[in-house]
Amino acid sequence: EPEVTQTPSHQVTQMGQEVILRCVPISNHLYFYWYRQILGQKVEFLVSFYNNEISEKSEIFDDQFSVERPDGSNFTLKIRSTKLEDSAMYFCASSRTSGTPDTQYFGPGTRLTVL
């Protein structure tokens, strides 16, 4: 069964450093998302992406964040200058269609630890 994959599974970085989190969505899916989950809390939407453009972003997704689909398979989240409060689990998700609600399939996540 196709699945969303993410790398790395765990990233440790120093405050102020740039990190890139990578995702490979399910191959025939057209809509991509990043969510994050701070330990013990709920899952929070960051950004959605379609047709090489951001569709919607949350207040969390400020100028320090960016997303890119550099090729036909990868979808990346970049945090330019990490802060301690960026420590969280970051989930990539993808869905096939829009217009009507469709299942968003989540990847296994990348645990980001900012020291």
Partner: protein, 112 residues
């Protein structure tokens, strides 16, 4: 505005039933239910669309009451594998496939 889930946590013995509620102060257009085990990704359970429908998957079913702006997840004859945190995610107005707004979760613990 995030949906409110109740209860926050529940402990059941294997074989007992559970109901998890998800309520919104805003009109609901779709409700997505996920289960997350500790340290893992949320796993999709089902989507319900406005119209008051009910869906089922083996011993897990859900209802969507548009007028009450509420969805409920029913777990029948719970198994140990049902343990985890259940999240409801509400879809945006118009049914577009954009962001899901998740509730704070219900932690379900099944004991033998």
């Amino acid at each position: 505005q995030q949906p409110v889930q109740s209860p926050q946590a529940v402990i059941l013995r294997e074989g007992e039933d559970a109901v998890i509620n998800c309520s919104s102060s805003k009109a609901l257009y779709s409700v997505h239910w996920y289960r997350q085990k500790h340290g893992e990704a949320p796993v999709f359970l089902m989507i319900l669309l406005k119209g008051g429908e009910q869906k089922g998957h083996e011993k897990i079913s859900a209802s969507f009451n548009e007028k009450k702006q509420q969805s409920s997840l029913y777990l029948t004859a719970s198994q140990l594998s049902y343990s985890g945190t259940y999240f409801c995610g509400t879809g945006p107005r118009g049914g577009g496939n954009e962001k899901l707004t998740f509730g704070t979760g219900t932690r379900l613990t099944i004991i033998p």
